[in-house]
Symmetry: D2
């Protein structure tokens, strides 16, 4: 099957190329990049042995049966929409189709939604939650990196109504590639290195996405306090989640619930009691690892790690593509 | 005034030497080190221009009017005790005199306390809370690095009874020097670098210290869920604290309370609304910087940064010494 | 084909497991580890999904037709020798069979050689130089990481007698994984991080290995000044080599010679004029990338990068195995 | 004495402010910054407690008896020239007055020199070489960071005519702050981190500066092959220099010569045989540390470390100011 990638030279786009080169069922038909049009991908990323030349985007020219759109929010809606209108399957990396409500989208992203009509059609691409819907989807909204780590961390407890839906604390730590490839002062090496800081403390755009999805899982309004932190590593997210149990639970109880909930999942691993995950255990892979502790002061602590560029972006996109196209879900991801 | 340092070649001891070399009122009389006896400090730490030769410890030989004991817990109680018995002022870096109750100490540190008789005499060395008592103390228990960041972050709210004393979440991130100078697998460069992990999730020894001190400030039992994380930087602690307000508060309300609470403090800085501290802003200094946000879902978020080796250890020890000896509190620390 | 790994839990051993899991022609029969006997490899390295339990070494029990020995020098000679005596093919990671002369070995490694009889049988496992001999070898001495980068950098010029065989300068920079997994003070995170240093300046054990192999290529005695440096990254070696041309050469002349010399090599890439390699371009891969400049002051500068754990160790070992067993040379390495 | 800094918000300017705050003889009168005019320096660099507000540059308004100009090359000549014309002493951080010959300057910097008339007046600000001339200078060209490390490394051998003036190899490794504060792709954290690379291999602008000064010291034309490398640390330069002795020399011979040459220098330290410097030993200080080895293959290896922002920029500027103003040379630098 032929696929194309729109916006192939950002970190997520390039990671997608790297992974797709090893996928036995697909072939890359076209890569687009505005910044590096005319260059081979391997000239932009010498670590990736891909000699396809990037083109300027001409959306009408794209004919592949499935397209990945890795564009900034706001730029994606129209382009992905055009493809969907023409019957092309789309996995969209932007936030444009993640938020179900156009008004909430406008509030957080500061722009009107340009294809509100497609929102009912878009499926939130977290296979562990929406596998069946993804199989039949034409338009999949690939989740944000933070929400992926947080939803996987909290879904079993919320689904089973074992924690209070309010007062949940999510303290996330992310590597710098999460900020994208555009150089800024805060990601300039001498600024980011040997430093730890929280950012967007008063409101990060992944918050409404988390709350929307967690609320759907819980069947009631979930409220999260979310603080992301920038950590001087290239890759990896570690989210430490704190919730209040609604009844007496032991660590073992909670581990049993998680093991059951994720028992058929190829990419989610629950650690034994007393063990907690390190980001380096999942780097370059589509794995998610979760460790749990119930404290004496009666909080459930759930710690979840993913690679922000793989399970938090491009690996998950391929997992979604595999489902949409009837391939084995793990193809190209092991 | 002459001072001696017992255990001068660990990271905290060496940082203390570095700082004392610039202190106008004191002179180092003796350094001890079991691992590097016979060597000049500058041979062990070429970055520090100090040619004093380290000796094996012979506690009876130490005559300085004030001694810093930078030994592991369990090893300090007897030695510091011997000095105190002889009328020598002691600033002790270990945990041995931080926990007021010998039974709690035994529970967390796994050994009986060897100088329980001195516990009533020991003053917890956090000047922002115990300044007057420190001035008259003979034995000061220098606080742990994590508790320093957490107590400074939460004291104003607890003192003013503005947050629930239960359900507080403290998510701390620390540089690797906090683990000491002894090489281990988890601090081996290729293991710690490019990695983020939580550790001692089921119980870190700084927890009872935090809860004890926060409870005294609050005047009631305070319960904290504390998860420390290891971050690949050399220095710095960032503690993100989450608490539930007991009444409606805005960010500005809380900032006013903090500004008032710390208005005379030379080393505590409260940031304006919307600003949050970076660890690099306080590295190599005795400063503590605090940023605050009250979220829509009604949590107060307090973010506090210190240098774990300065305000979290050696700088604070000098601050304590200055108080105990009648020097200006900031001497040698600006 | 079944293979076993003796010493599977060091960095090179674990990297070998990681790579072999993707090799379509081989299956791992046995892993040995003294430090982690009884544990699954995935318990020691959670990033590697391998549930084989490590055993204590009992060399007589090993029956695989090919064995990788990843042991420290001195420990390998007898064990690899036992296997070879029994007709088992061996790729040895240690230095024990790299130095052709037992006396030189003793001089640099400080111990007598324990299987001097096997030295004539051992083939130096650099496929770009010894491909045909490796195909027929029973015992392959897998090259050191520094020598791999240096021999590939200098072979075309020496083979063509275009540079002086004396006065060559090799300035190498290596990531910390090159020092192995055993924690030491110099590889302790707070010591190695934010630091650059040269080490073993008065004599590194890879020097006689380099000089031996370069001399064979040149057909005359080659003398190298070699200074290795420790750089705070996990992986990667960059060797900057400086030589004096014997006749007037331009950068283009030299690039032509390298392109010709390596034209059939699957893992060596020569960069165009004005381009120089970054270590990140080869990390996690068996690639070697080389950039060249002839300076105004008439030095040839050759810059070569490899991943020390792949082309500098485990990837090269697989390349050797592929040759020894008649598999396509690149199998499992693309 | 009052001083002003033009271009105070680059890394060198800010480091200069940090150091001057502790200098007992001077007071900062004015800071200028085009990017941050109207802001306090402490808003741009919260780590530096300096509440002076930066102004747009109006050179006529500057009246301080000594001014530091920390501007990019090309921008400095006219401004520094204006100050010098008005009798103000200037320490200029740019390259504009380092190259004695306007033609060579134009060749390397690509622009005509705008104050060629001042070149004879400018003194190269390396106190270890030009102390007496600096004392009487009005215009001091503060040396580049690489040249400082290289000239200090090679001066004793060249001055004593003990090495060949041609064929010298200088392999330098620098932290990323050397590239300045302007974000670029190559200094973007995920690009620079976990990477090692050589850059400007075909010609770095510090080469003519080195060769000019080394030639003056040697009294004959010195030719250097210089390759700088980017290392993922914030600060520090390590230059490894390789030269060919003109007569038989031992390591001890060379160390004696260096010890004698630098015996009165407050900031240059020669290490004993077998010891080599680490960059971390000199970070945040004006120190320079040098280790030496004469190899079997008869090269002299000289390894020199400095902090690129202190001895390689702002510390050296203060050292120059101290000399120009009759203060003790080490004032504010210990």
């Amino acid at each position: 099957m032929k696929v194309s990638i729109i916006g192939a030279t950002g970190y997520a786009g390039a990671e997608l190329v790297r992974l797709l080169l090893h996928h036995p069922e697909v072939e890359i038909e076209m890569l687009t990049s505005e910044s590096f049009a005319g260059k081979k991908l391997s000239e932009v990323y010498p670590a990736i042995k891909c000699n396809i030349v990037c083109n300027h985007l001409n959306v009408e020219k794209i004919k592949s049966p499935l397209v990945f759109t890795a564009l900034p929010h706001g730029k994606s809606a129209k382009i992905a929409g055009n493809l969907v209108d023409r019957g092309i399957k789309v996995v969209d990396f932007s936030a444009d189709f993640r938020i179900n409500c156009a008004r909430v989208y406008s509030l957080w992203y500061g722009i009107p939604h340009q294809r509100e009509d497609l929102l009912p059609k878009a499926v939130y691409g977290l296979p562990e939650i929406y596998r069946e819907r993804i199989k039949n989807a034409t338009l999949v909204a690939n989740p944000g990196c933070y929400p992926t780590s947080v939803i996987l961390a909290l879904a079993p407890l919320l689904k089973n109504k074992l924690i209070k839906p309010e007062g949940i604390v999510v303290d996330s730590k992310s590597g710098v590639s999460g900020a994208g490839r555009n150089p800024t002062l805060s990601t300039h090496f001498p600024e980011a290195n040997e430093n730890i800081n929280a950012y967007k403390v008063t409101g990060h755009r992944h918050l409404p996405e988390m709350e929307q999805e967690l609320s759907k899982i819980a069947g009631e309004k979930v409220k999260v306090t979310f603080v992301p932190h920038l950590i001087p590593v290239n890759r990896g997210i570690l989210s430490t989640c704190y919730a209040e149990p609604l009844k007496r639970l032991t660590t073992e109880d909670v581990l049993d619930i998680y093991t059951e909930f994720y028992k058929k999942e190829p990419f989610v691993e629950i650690l034994p009691p007393g063990k907690f995950p390190h980001t380096k255990e999942v780097l370059w892979s589509n794995r998610c690892r979760i460790g749990i502790n119930v404290t004496n002061s009666s909080k459930v602590v759930i710690i979840c790690v993913i690679d922000n560029l793989v399970k938090g972006a491009s690996g998950q996109a391929i997992q979604n593509m595999n489902l949409m196209c009837g391939f084995d879900e793990s193809t190209g991801l092991k």
